[in-house]
Amino acid sequence: MKWFSKSQQSMREKQLENIYTMLEGSGDYISKKHQLKKTAIYCSFIRTIVDTDMLQRDILTPLIQQSEGTTLEELRTSLPFEEVILTDDVNTIKEKVLQGHVLIQLEKNSEQGLLLDVKAKNDRQVSPPEVEYNVLGPNESFIESLDVNIYLLRKRLPLPNFKIKEVTVGKLTKTRTAIIYIDGLANEENVNTVMQRVTAIEYDQIIDVSFISQMIEDDHNSAFPQLVDTERPDRVASSLSEGKIAILVDGSPFALMGPTTIVEFFSAFDDYTLNWYIASAFRLIRLMSVAFSVLATPLYVATLTFHYQLIPKNLLATLISSRMGIPFPPLAEAFLMEFTIEVLREAGVRLPTKVGQTIGIVGGIVIGTASVQANLTSNVLLILVAMAALASFTTPNYRMNNTVRLIRFPFLLFAGLWGMYGIACCFAIVVAHLLRLESLGRPYIEPFFPLRIKDLKDAFFRLPFSKQKLRPMLLRPQDPGRVNTQRASKKHDIDD
């Protein structure tokens, strides 16, 4: 067996050589000799990702001035670091050096070395949320650093059973991905599903959490997002304590949460900071605006093209005189307007903010007045289209918001071809699709189908906290009760 170990030896040496030549090939790799009291060390690191101040202050200065050790083991004990890795594994060395560790060796390019984390921390500050803004409640949002994000969650959930499972995905990006849940609360089946799907990801780059979201979703072809993404740590903490599972990715200021239902995409965090019936009213307004946004223009087109009988007699004059002289059928007219609005919105998103003001002026003048005066569109439709666009923006979740905006186009087309019947067909297709849809294997439109009366407490209405004693049944939590019922029953007023 000697020849075998010998060949292994030479292979390792070759590997070692390869790595060091590869590292030295990149311009920001530094390897320098330092003379200590009793021995010399070689210190190697990648300059651009290492905090050089820290390196000098906390490693080199104490080593050069004080250390009397001669072996790596002795040097290791004299360094004030919480984690010092002593390794002779080539791959670990490569990986850690590339992630911002400094490598300390006694011989240059040998296979043994100490690894110390001196990663430069150039993360931005935790700032208020920008996508999911709310009036009341906490004002922190995730940033691009996974550690900071986990810190934001941990400080909200100081629990020993707060579980973080870290995996690395992405062949090139080696993205650190954390799967977070509360052990003993989250359903294990859900955890296993997420773990299995995340580890099965085979792709070269995971730049953002949305990549993961698209890869692990139950139906990749669905227009509806099946995992909630949020930038609010408070929302994630609250979901975790319901028994949901969160996925965070290093480098992405968003967290994914699942399993979820369609209702959650229309609930904002303000729904929980406001009084329950006020919150319920606003949630209903949001749901109605979604229905309005999807159906308003299709109904207009269907009615004007096929079902003039449905128009109340007092509205006839308004509708007909505003459509007088317009050369297009209602379908073309509506498509033109919807297209214009979408173009304006898309342009508004893409334009740099400094130029962005022009969009408002162009949009206001072009679709506001000119197209009506030029007899290209009717006033009534203009109002409907603008209202529908406005209503679509009430959806708090950006991805659902896009779905709501796009889904009205097939409705519009079918309304123009088949009238009400077409709308009904389209509606049936959407409902059938939603019925089949799952989020991490759980039904997507859960409180309604399958009907679970107990989960309706947080669907159309958000009932008061006193009625929210059970966690959502959808998640099948290991511990379904939210409150200590014994203690709750003992509660009494001070003057009792």
């Binding site: 003039y308 007699k313 007909i320 007088m324 059928p329 006033n379 071809l417 088949w418």
Partner: protein, 367 residues
């Protein structure tokens, strides 16, 4: 397998898109909406059909221009549709889906209305709440007229009928006509209208026997008719104090109750007892209500008058052998073996009793 099914489904969907030519689009500004239709006799077997449709003009930036009424008439053979004959003159397709009123001259109505109503009934585009009315004189004249309150005669009439259905007048439309025509122990009735200068006036309730117009109840008695026909509110009625003075009463509620003794005294003929409870208040009075005209006295007087008028009305209906109050139908609900023929034999001398109670709740602020 699943893949094949999917492909088939997609193919079917795509094919079905080609079928869309089947649904005929009727874009609302590219059709002529027939909102009112009127029938007159022209001569033997020929009718003069008149339709009106609104012509809207383009809104000039702000506000809506008042529409104009486009009136077209044509002579058609009995039994053919007026719309079809008028297609040759109209710019756009004539669509009856927003028909608001359908008028028939009293001559036509006297010969039987069902064949005309049948046309409306069969057309799925036409709503069941279309108003029907009988005109005293020519229907064409009413449709052609210019009116001060509304440029569109169709809307004018439709609004007028709607308003009346909420006070003195019972509701009438295509649905009630068909129901009363087909129902057992009842006869239809419709408003009777007449043109007067710049206005159209409802002059009474046209009574039918079967589908034939026979007589009418004058408008002044509409309150009494409605009081016997249904429970209602917000009607008004004027009681004479003396030869020149009247007191106007508005009712808060009027409740009518039909009780039938199915066998009556002779064991065969039913007795119908109608009791009416009026709650109202004094709305307008020329003099202070005191002494002889005090509220309790006024109540008695009003009750007496309503009772008298009601009995007269019922007597007239008996003589005409028409039953717009649906008394037959009320009796039917109390009798086990009711037959229409037997009832109609008995009806002209039926024992029908009426009792009216009046309560005036207040008389407004007096000095």
């Amino acid at each position: 397998m699943q893949n094949n099914a999917k492909r088939l489904l997609i193919a079917l969907l795509l094919i079905s898109l080609c079928l869309t030519g089947c649904a005929k689009p009727r874009i609302v500004d590219d059709v002529h909406l027939v909102q009112a239709i009127g029938y007159d006799y022209y001569k033997e077997n020929y009718l003069l059909g008149t339709i009106t449709s609104p012509v809207y003009s383009q809104s000039a930036g702000s506000g809506i221009m008042p529409p104009k009424s486009d009136v077209m008439s044509v002579v058609v053979k009995k039994g053919t549709e007026v719309n079809a004959e008028l297609e040759s003159e109209s710019e756009y397709q004539l669509e009856p889906g927003k028909l608001l009123v359908s008028l028939y001259s009293n001559e036509i109505a006297a010969d039987g209305l069902f064949q005309y109503v049948d046309l409306l009934k069969r057309n799925p585009d036409i709503g069941i709440v279309t108003n029907l009315a009988i005109t005293e004189g020519s229907a064409k004249e009413i449709l052609e007229g210019q009116y001060a309150s509304d440029p569109l005669i169709s809307e004018y009439l439709s609004n007028m009928f709607k308003k009346h259905a909420t006070n003195n007048f019972p509701e009438t439309n295509l649905h009630t006509f068909l129901y009363q025509y087909a129902g057992k122990g009842m006869d239809p009735f419709l408003p009777l209208i007449k043109k007067e200068n710049e206005h159209v006036k409802i002059i009474g309730i046209a009574l039918f026997k079967g589908d034939k117009y026979i007589d009418y109840v004058p408008y002044s008695q509409a309150f009494v008719f409605n009081m016997l026909y249904q429970s209602f509110s917000k009607g008004n009625y004027a009681v004479p104090l003396n030869a020149s003075q009247y007191v106007s009463i508005e009712n808060i509620s009027s409740k009518v109750d039909y009780q039938v003794e199915p066998r009556g005294k002779d064991g065969r003929h039913p007795i119908v007892k109608i009791s009416v409870e009026e709650n109202g208040y004094v709305r307008e009075s020329a003099s202070v209500l005191k002494g002889k005209h005090s509220i309790p006295n006024l109540q008695k007087r009003l009750a007496k008058e309503l009772q008298k008028n009601g009995i007269t009305l019922i007597k007239n209906f008996k003589n005409l052998r028409t039953d717009p109050l649906q008394i037959g139908s009320h009796v039917r609900s109390f009798q086990r073996h009711w037959s229409e023929a037997a009832w109609m034999d008995y009806y002209p001398h039926a024992d029908i009793r009426l009792k009216v109670k009046v309560k005036l709740k207040h008389e407004g602020i007096t000095n």
